[in-house]
């Protein structure tokens, strides 16, 4: 009699699809919109790239805080994780902000939020492309 408790092995197609979905998600994180571009969702790809890009440029231009890994407390660490969500745009934000952050005025504070939002939004978009690549959502 066959063992009914045995878990059937994943078909090779599922495993390959899972790998491609993971690659799509990582690509979407590294370059905003690339995950959707790989899935030929051009409208979403362009919009993710532009939205995250504009938020990063505005955030850095308003002298928001681009957090680094050497944070002093949990909020700095959370900010760093959020900023890292922008992928390669994190490096662009750091290079744009030569004079450092200035959160002594409202503009700088808004800039910090813009940068963190760009990161979280990009993570959401990357997760969306990952799910779409798995065939669960579009």
């Amino acid at each position: 009699m066959a063992d009914e408790t045995a878990v059937p092995a994943d078909p090779p197609q599922d495993s390959r699809r899972e790998t491609m979905a993971f690659i799509t998600g990582v690509a979407g994180w590294l370059v905003p919109g690339l995950g959707h571009a790989l899935l030929k969702m051009w409208g979403r790809a362009v919009m993710c790239f532009l939205t995250v890009g504009v938020l990063v440029i505005l955030g850095a231009g308003m002298r928001g805080n681009v957090f680094s890994s050497s944070g002093n407390d949990a909020f700095d660490t959370l900010g760093y994780l959020a900023d890292l969500g922008t992928g390669t745009f994190y490096l662009a934000a750091r290079s744009l902000e030569n004079n450092g952050a200035d959160v002594s005025h409202a503009g700088g504070d808004y800039g910090t939020r813009f940068l963190a939002t760009a990161g979280v939004l990009n993570l959401l978009a990357a997760l969306h492309s990952y799910e779409a690549a798995r065939g669960r959502k579009a």
């Binding site: 919009m47 939205t51 504009v54 938020l55 850095a60 308003m62 409202a106 939002t117």
Partner: protein, 64 residues
């Protein structure tokens, strides 16, 4: 950063830009058809502004 790249935006301009950009991103991510996207963006933008201004007024008594 050079001085030409510095942005000086007021509270209202910053809030408007933020609300607009996030509404567009949410609309494109969560809806597929163009008309649904437009409706979602307009509705989301309206709620962002309504809640933002509402919270601003709710905090007003504490500033005095």
């Amino acid at each position: 950063m050079n001085a030409g790249m510095a942005f000086k935006l007021s509270h209202l301009q910053s809030m408007l830009l933020f609300a607009l950009l996030i509404s567009i991103a949410f609309g494109f991510l969560s809806r597929r058809r163009p008309m649904d996207r437009v409706k979602y963006i307009v509705w989301s933008l309206f709620l962002f502004l309504l809640i933002g201004v509402g919270i601003g007024w709710a905090m007003y008594p504490f500033s005095h």
